[in-house]
């Protein structure tokens, strides 16, 4: 990753225009040619520096439902619990964290009812209490990491 890549990453985290030739416009702003920008973007996606590029949709406003939940997976059954929880297609992310609540996962479904069903299925299959922490209020969502 060189200085040009950094500039591309920083600029594209802020936004991207909706117009006939958006890459050409952004390339112009960055002092690049359109083919150079497209080539670098492709490389940044291919090598995983960017995990995605495109519109980011607001799940709840699209009619979907989301929640964050956690369980106290005991160390001796950690892998087993991981497998059970990850097997649910509704589980979008799952992280191990350094806390008594060892496993934190995000559930995304089309309806709130499916969230409840997924949570109870996870409780049933793992035998663990699921701590459901749906958002009550959103103060900020937006990520800008200086490259």
């Amino acid at each position: 990753m060189d200085e040009i890549d950094r500039r591309i990453i920083n600029a594209l985290q802020v936004g991207f225009p909706i117009c006939d030739a958006p890459y050409q416009r952004v390339a112009g702003q960055l002092g690049l040619t359109e083919p150079a920008l497209l080539e670098r973007l492709q490389a940044l996606l291919d090598n995983g520096t960017l995990s995605r590029f495109g519109p980011l949709y607001h799940a709840e406003l699209m009619g979907g439902a989301l929640t964050l939940a956690a369980v106290k997976a005991p160390p001796e059954h950690f892998d087993e619990v991981t497998d059970i929880i990850n097997a649910f297609p509704e589980v979008a992310h799952n992280y191990a964290r350094n806390h008594a609540l060892t496993m934190w996962f995000v559930i995304a479904t089309e309806t709130p009812e499916q969230i409840r069903q997924t949570l109870s299925a996870i409780e049933q299959q793992t035998g663990l209490t699921v701590y459901n922490m749906p958002k009550i209020n959103e103060y900020f969502v937006g990520l800008k990491l200086e490259a």
Partner: protein
């Protein structure tokens, strides 16, 4: 705010990403049998309504050197959480900030803020800054670091 068939078709065609071709909206339009005009109008409208949060790049934190990604959780009185949550959300190093329910007695925390740093020192300083901002309203806090990504997929709507 309602999404119709056309909006949903555009959403499905773009949620994996925008085509890397000189005229990406034209490309999407061709796939869907629409005009580029319509695709651009609908996407602009969805962005204005907040259905599209933004169009842009999502970097992998670790690849940019942000190895310390902490979920900071705070116990803040309910009466002041909206005011303070908005202030914490405005700090430039906070990527997500939410009010979530407590699970008493074991989980007294109701304010969640994700912070990101390249060093532990950076993150410690960010946590101190949040703590200073909350002042007396900070009744307790913990910082949870992810020790392993167990699963990570994009959000996909099948609706």
């Amino acid at each position: 705010m309602t999404l119709d068939e056309t909006d949903r078709a555009i959403m499905h065609a773009t949620q994996a990403g925008l085509p890397l071709t000189p005229q990406p909206y034209q490309r999407i339009a061709e796939q869907l049998g629409l005009t580029a005009e319509i695709v651009m109008t609908r996407m602009t409208a969805m962005q204005e309504q907040g259905i599209i949060r933004r169009i842009g790049a999502v970097p992998n934190h670790y690849k940019l050197g942000y190895r310390f990604n902490g979920m900071t959780v705070w116990n803040v009185p309910d009466e002041v959480i909206d005011d303070l949550g908005q202030q914490v959300g405005k700090l430039e190093f906070v990527s997500h900030c939410y009010h979530r329910p407590r699970h008493l007695p074991e989980w007294p925390y109701n304010l969640f803020a994700m912070v990101h740093g390249k060093t532990q020192t950076d993150v410690d300083q960010q946590i101190r800054q949040i703590s200073d901002l909350l002042g007396d309203a900070n009744l307790g806090c913990e910082v949870l670091y992810s020790t392993k990504i167990l699963k990570k997929t994009g959000f996909r709507s099948r609706g």
